[in-house]
Symmetry: C2
Subunit: 379 residues, 2 copies
C-alpha cells in the first residue's frame, strides 16, 4: 500500500553552514518530506538519503501530481520494508540540488543573482551536517536508522562516522567507500560534456534564458550506461532495430539508441546543469579513509551503529567487492554487520527495483530494529 | 628491429564501388603502405587491417616524421612476430578515414564540395571489397594471412566469409562477431556528443573553417575509458590528485581527469568528426550472423581459412567470451582454430601493447604459416 498523498515542507536555516571546501553558505533552506508519525520519545525516525538525480520525494504522490511517485515508494510505506506504520521516515533534498533545497539556481545573497557555477562545491559530509541541523530542529537526537543507496549510501556511511551516537543503524546499499578511477573518469566525461556546451555560459545560463541541454543529455546517456548491467541491456535491447533494418545514417538504428537518447532528452528538461556538476564532484570527493592514509579500518573505528550492507552481483558501477571492503573494515572494528549480496541482473539500478530477496532482507532488518526498540520500551 | 623509413602510396580506382547501404562511391583512392618483399609467386602477402583511429601506417617511420611510429610497429618488422624478412605486409587506410584514403573531407564529385555527412555510411564488408580490389591490383590472388585487432579483426573475419579462397589464414585479435547493446550505447554517446556540437554544422564544418572539437573530445574520452581495464586504471591513476588536495572547483582534481582530457584534446586536433561517426557505425553494423537468423555457425560455414584468435582477460569491451563464441562456431564448422586467451591487465588496448606471451603466440603462428608455405615450395 502506498503512503498516498504527501506534501513537501521547507525549513530555513539562518545560521551559516561552514563547508568542507572552506566556503560557507550564509543561509539556506532544506526541502523535505516526512511519512508516518514520530513517536513520543522520538526514537522511531529513519533518515533516507538520496542519490544523484533523486530528491526528498521518497514515497507517495503529490495531490496535484498523482503520477509523480516517490523514488523509493516500493521500499517505503505502510506495511512495506521500511514500514511507515512503525517508523517516521524523513526524505531531505540535499544542498545544491535542483528540487527545492538551496541550489545554484537560487539567488546568491552576496550578489542577488543566481549562484550558477559559484555555488560552492559541497561534499557528502556537508550534506550530512545540513541534515543533522534538520534533525536538531525536528528534535531527533538519534535516528533509529540512516539509510541510502549509491550516493545515498555514502551519506549513511558518513553519518556513522561523523555522528556515531546519532544513529542506531546504518543501511548502506549498492554503495562504495570511494570512487574508482573509472568511476571518476565517467563523471568527468559527463562534466566535460556540460562545461563545454556553449549554452552552459560558464554556469550563468539562467541569465541567458537557455539550458545546456546537449551537454546534460550526453552526461545522462553515459551515466545511464553505467547504471545498467551489460547482460540486462543485452536482454532488454540486444541488437533490436527500431525499423527492422539498418538506416545507413545517423538517426536511430538500434532500440538501445532510442532508449538512451530518450532518457537523455527527458533528463535535460528537468535537471540543472550546475547541480549535475556539483553532485558528481561530491561523489568523486567522498573517501572517508583519505585522512587515515587510505586505511578504511581506521576511518570506521569511531562508528557505533550496527550495519546492514547490500550489494548486487551485476552492479559494475559499485560492485559487491566495494561493499565487501566496507564489511571487512567494519568487522575488523568488531561492529555488528549484516551483509547481503543479491544475485540480480539489473546492475546498479537494482537498488531501486523490486526484488523479493532484497526487499525481504531490508524488511527483516527493520523488523529487528523495531524489536530492539520494543525491547527497550521505545517502539 | 624496426622496418625503418617507409612511404605511403596511393592507388586510385576509377570504377565505382557499390556499397552495402545501396549507394556507390563513384571513384576513390586508397592510401597504403607495404613492408618486406612480395615473393615470386605472390604467396607471402599479409594484409593488416586497422581499427577505429589507426591507419595504413602499421610499422616504421616517415623520413620527415621520425617520431611517427606505425601503430603495430612492435608486431610488424624484421625479425618481429610478423616478420617482414619473410612476409610482404600491406597496411591500407579504410574508406571514410581521415588519413589519406577517400573520406568525408574530400570533394564529392557530384557537388565539388567536401562530402561531409553525405559521405556514405560504409561497412566492414565495403572496406573488405575495397581492400580486395587493391589486392587485385597488386596481383595478390591469395593472402598468406589477413590479420587485425578489434575493428581490424572484424575485417579479417569478414574476409574469411566474403573471400574464403583468398586467404590461407585469418588472425582475429581482441574482436567480436558483433557489438553488444552496451558497445553500441557507448558509440552512440560519442556520436551524439559530435552531432550536437554546434561546430559540427550538420557535417559541413569544413566550409565554416571550424572543427567540432568539444564533441570529438568527449567522444574520445568515453571511448578511451572502454579501452582500458578498471584494474589498469586503478593501478595507473587510482585516486591520485594532481595538486595533492581537492580543488573544490571544476578544473582538474584527479590525474585520471588530466589524462583523459589530454587524450581527448589531442584526438580532437587530428581526427575527423565525420570519420568518427561513420567508423562507429561500421562497428555497430558488423554482424555476419544477421542474415543467418543470428546463427554464427551458419555464417562461418563458407569459410576455408585456418584461424588464430586471441583475446585478453581484462578486455571488457570485447571480452574473451566473444572470442570463444567465434572459436566455438568455427570448431562446429570443423575449421582449424588456434585460440589464446592472454591474462593481461591492460583491457582492450592490450592488443596494441607488448606482452611476451601474446607476441610469442603470434610469432609461432606466423612461423607455422611460413613452414606451410615452405613445404609447398612457395616460401
Amino acid at each position: 500500500m502506498s503512503i498516498g498523498i504527501v506534501s513537501p515542507q521547507v525549513m530555513h536555516f539562518a545560521e551559516p553552514l561552514p563547508l568542507q571546501g572552506g566556503a560557507a553558505l550564509a543561509d539556506y533552506s532544506l526541502t523535505y518530506e516526512t511519512y508516518g508519525t514520530l513517536n513520543a520519545d522520538k526514537s522511531n525516525a529513519v533518515l533516507v538519503c538520496h542519490a544523484l538525480n533523486a530528491s526528498h520525494h521518497v514515497a507517495g504522490v503529490y495531490a496535484d501530481e498523482p503520477d509523480n511517485v516517490g523514488w523509493w515508494d516500493n521500499m517505503v510505506g505502510p506495511g512495506k520494508s521500511l514500514d511507515t506504520d512503525k517508523f517516521f521516515v524523513i526524505g531531505v533534498n540535499n544542498l545544491g540540488s535542483c528540487f527545492g533545497s538551496t541550489g545554484p539556481m537560487h539567488a546568491n545573497p552576496a550578489t542577488g543573482k543566481p549562484y550558477g557555477a559559484d555555488f560552492p562545491v559541497v561534499t557528502v559530509e556537508d550534506w550530512v551536517n545540513a541534515q543533522a541541523r534538520l534533525a536538531d530542529r525536528l528534535g531527533i537526537a538519534q535516528f533509529a536508522a540512516v539509510m541510502g543507496g549509491s550516493l545515498g549510501g555514502m551519506q549513511a556511511l558518513a553519518w556513522s562516522i561523523m555522528y556515531p551516537e546519532r544513529l542506531r543503524h546504518c543501511l548502506v546499499i549498492a554503495s562504495t567507500p570511494k570512487l574508482s578511477a573509472q568511476n571518476i573518469a565517467f563523471n568527468d566525461v559527463a562534466r566535460q560534456a556540460i562545461l563545454t556546451d556553449p549554452q552552459y555560459h560558464g554556469g550563468d545560463f539562467y541569465a541567458h534564458g537557455v539550458v545546456p541541454k546537449n551537454g546534460l543529455r550526453v552526461a545522462r546517456m553515459v551515466g545511464h550506461i553505467t547504471y545498467l548491467s551489460d547482460d540486462d541491456m543485452a536482454e532488454k535491447f540486444g541488437r533490436d532495430l527500431r525499423s527492422g533494418d539498418y538506416q545507413f545514417g545517423y538517426g536511430i538504428d538500434f532500440e538501445i539508441e532510442s532508449y538512451l537518447r530518450y532518457q537523455g532528452d527527458k533528463f535535460s528538461t528537468y535537471f540543472d546543469a550546475n547541480t549535475y556538476l556539483l553532485i558528481t564532484k561530491a561523489l568523486d570527493y567522498f573517501d572517508p579513509a583519505r585522512e587515515f592514509g587510505g586505511d578504511l579500518v581506521k576511518a570506521l573505528a569511531c562508528t557505533r551503529a550496527k550495519f546492514l550492507l547490500v550489494s548486487f552481483t551485476t552492479d559494475w558501477r559499485f560492485s559487491p567487492e566495494r561493499s565487501r571492503e566496507m564489511v571487512q573494515a567494519l568487522v575488523a572494528n568488531k561492529r555488528r554487520v549484516s551483509y547481503a549480496e543479491i544475485d540480480a541482473p539489473h546492475g546498479h539500478d537494482a537498488f531501486l527495483l523490486d526484488d523479493e530477496r532484497y526487499m525481504k532482507v531490508v524488511r527483516e532488518y527493520y523488523a529487528s530494529i523495531w524489536t530492539e526498540l520494543a525491547q527497550e520500551g521505545r517502539a
